[in-house]
């Protein structure tokens, strides 16, 4: 099929803008990765290839501590947020649109509607009022809260796309409500649950504003630690750390998107 001489769908310049846009989108990522292999101590002066900064990063105890804090908080927050979001989504997708359900949906999505800095200030004041001093407890609670809508949205979308017929068919075929959930509903919405959990995990790992506000000794997360490094000056080691983080993020994103694409194909 050849395009007609006068293709009305083409706009001159649009493709060029798009090409430049994608270059611009990936330029910073490429620059960070490129300079992470720079031998020179100065970030932007290339003198030769080296992996020494990766070695330095992996031996950095403070970095590893921050990573441990971030992972612990992210795993707990992901599990908590996904479980809470799944329960709420099950209720909200199966209910008529009554007032209380609309309100509940808004409440679940509340962290998306408030500026994060306000939320951060709010939890800071709350914890100071409650006298909770344990940094990990504070972080985990706050992260679970702002991760919940990210877990909720894909699960909700998946449940809304799923006809009630499937659950009814399961019950019609002698499955108890629990069996129907375990063997039909859950496997069918699994891609949504997985995507939601991935999003929640990434959001928790990425968070700076709240974690910085709640920062105290022993609960410094990875982004907060990186911020403190940046404040001290850019170094190639920082580039190496950033590169590692970029690769992990991209891997998680690719897995998540590939899985949801596969699920879409399966259900067609």
């Amino acid at each position: 099929m050849s395009a007609p001489a006068h293709d009305i769908r083409r706009y001159p310049g649009a493709r060029l803008v798009t090409a430049v846009f994608f270059l611009w989108l990936y330029l910073p990522i490429a620059v960070v990765i490129w300079f992470s292999f720079n031998e020179n101590r100065l970030v932007s002066v290339w003198t030769g290839f080296s992996t020494q900064w990766y070695a330095a990063a992996l031996q950095n105890k403070a970095l590893m501590d921050a990573l441990r804090v971030s992972l612990t908080v992210a795993v707990i927050a992901t599990i908590g947020a996904t479980a809470i979001a799944l329960m709420a989504a099950m209720v909200l997708s199966r209910a008529p649109s009554k007032r209380i359900y609309k309100l509940s949906e808004a409440v679940v999505n509340l962290p998306l509607m408030l500026p994060e800095i306000v939320v951060a200030v709010a939890v800071l004041i709350l914890f100071s009022q409650l006298g909770i001093a344990n940094g990990m407890v504070k972080l985990t609670l706050a992260h679970t809260a702002f991760c919940t809508p990210f877990a909720f949205l894909p699960i909700r979308a998946r449940l809304q796309g799923m006809s009630r017929d499937f659950e009814e068919a399961a019950q019609d075929l002698y499955a108890t409500p629990l069996t129907a959930f375990r063997r039909v509903t859950l496997p069918m919405i699994a891609p949504g649950v997985f995507a939601g959990a991935m999003l929640a995990f990434v959001m928790s790992m990425d968070d700076f504003i709240t974690s910085n506000m709640l920062n105290s000794g022993g609960s410094t997360t990875l982004p907060v630690y990186i911020f403190s490094l940046i404040k001290r000056g850019t170094t190639p080691e920082l580039n190496a750390i950033s590169t590692l983080m970029i690769l992990v993020s991209l891997a998680i994103a690719t897995i998540a998107l590939a899985m949801s694409a596969r699920a879409m194909r399966r259900d067609l």
Binding site: S163, D165, F166, E168, A169, A170, Q171, D172, L173, Y174, A175, T176, P177, T179, A180, R183, V184, P187, M188, R265, R266, D267, L268
Partner: protein
């Protein structure tokens, strides 16, 4: 023939808010029967089916399954299976797993399950597809698997919710015959819901015509078509001409009436008690035109013609009253009528029906 009662529906009503979906409906379905609930959308037929399956509960009244009250039983404890309109085949399971699902929940052991799955796949001619997933099937194949899955647990009653509506015309015709023969082969009571009167007439032992939440008529296909109980049924099933008529006298199930053409005839009546206004129902294919005219002959003028292939529909003006006349295009086109042409029409008294207004 004395047969057991598979399903008994007693005075069932259903309200959704202020909307009355079903109003005091009662009927009995026999064992081994192909029973159809027929009606326009919104007549309550699907609601009734969902109540038998256990997805809705009646606002009033009771439903008995094999003589036992089922109101308190949740869907998963009712020995009733459904073929869903959307088929609702589980996309994450193979066809064999889909069919085995109900058997597993009933606690059948592995050996028995596998044998039954093989038997069902055989029954619907899908054996070679056992390991496929629903997404890899055509519409007709999905339909067969949905049937096999619902029949596998040997339900007392099989519910079918417009199962043919998603198929194209040719396939639908073939599936009708297949459904009918499956029902005879398995001996299971089928309750079939449809809004397609042709499907209903073709397959059913008995049809229950539902309209506006009430039973309009219950009977065999021929009874429903030939002897409609009221205007609603005559109008919904097939095509007909309604003519305002004046009842002169009623004697049993016969009535003497005067038609708008001034003609006086005696015909079968339903629901009349004495003189007064009534409706005359006359099916288009039961009106003869020109040479075939016998009985009472009317003069008319052809106003419109619709060529439909196997049939031609004419609109004929008789004393200012339009009449639909249907003629088979049999051996030749010799008897084609032109608009403007004058024709004579006739019908037999015993093919006319007098109904309450």
């Amino acid at each position: 023939m004395a047969r057991g009662k598979a399903v008994e529906v007693y005075n069932v009503s259903k309200r959704f808010g202020s909307y009355q979906a079903l109003d005091q409906v009662s009927f009995t379905i026999h064992e081994n029967e192909f029973f159809t609930l027929l009606g326009p959308s919104g007549c309550g037929k699907t609601t009734l089916l969902r109540m038998i399956a256990g997805f809705e509960s009646p606002s009033e009244g009771a439903i008995l399954l094999n003589g036992a009250e089922i109101e308190t039983l949740p869907p998963h404890r009712r020995r009733v299976n459904t073929v869903f309109q959307s088929y609702a085949l589980f996309p994450h399971m193979t066809l064999a797993q889909n069919i085995a699902f109900g058997l597993e929940n009933l606690g059948w052991d592995r050996k028995r399950r596998e044998a039954r799955v093989a038997e069902m796949l055989e029954l619907v001619h899908m054996t070679q597809f056992a390991a496929r997933r629903p997404a890899q099937l055509s519409g007709g194949q999905r339909q067969r698997i949905a049937l096999a899955r619902a029949l596998a647990p040997e339900p007392q009653v099989l519910l079918l919710d417009e199962p043919l509506s998603a198929l194209d015309l040719k396939l639908r015709q073939a599936m009708r015959d297949e459904l009918r023969s499956l029902q005879k082969k398995t001996g299971i009571t089928f309750i079939f819901v449809t809004h397609d009167q042709e499907e209903a007439l073709d397959m059913s032992d008995r049809i229950c015509v539902l309209g506006e939440g009430r039973i309009q008529q219950l009977g065999t296909p021929a009874e429903i078509y030939e002897d409609p109980e009221n205007r609603f049924v005559a109008d919904f099933i097939g095509e007909t001409n309604f003519l305002a008529a004046e009842v002169l006298s009623v004697e049993g199930d016969m009535a003497r009436i005067r038609t708008p053409f001034g003609l006086e005839i005696t015909a079968r009546q339903k629901g009349l008690t004495g003189p007064g206004p009534a409706t005359l129902s006359l099916r288009p294919e039961k009106i003869g035109m020109q040479s075939q005219a016998d009985g009472h002959v009317l003069q008319g003028t052809v106003r419109g013609r619709n060529y439909m292939g196997g049939f031609t529909h004419y609109t004929v003006d008789v004393a200012g009253q339009p009449l639909r006349v249907s003629r088979r295009n049999a051996l030749s086109h010799a008897e084609s009528f032109e608009p403007g042409q004058t024709v004579s029409l006739g019908f037999r008294e015993d093919s006319a029906r007098v109904l309450a207004q």
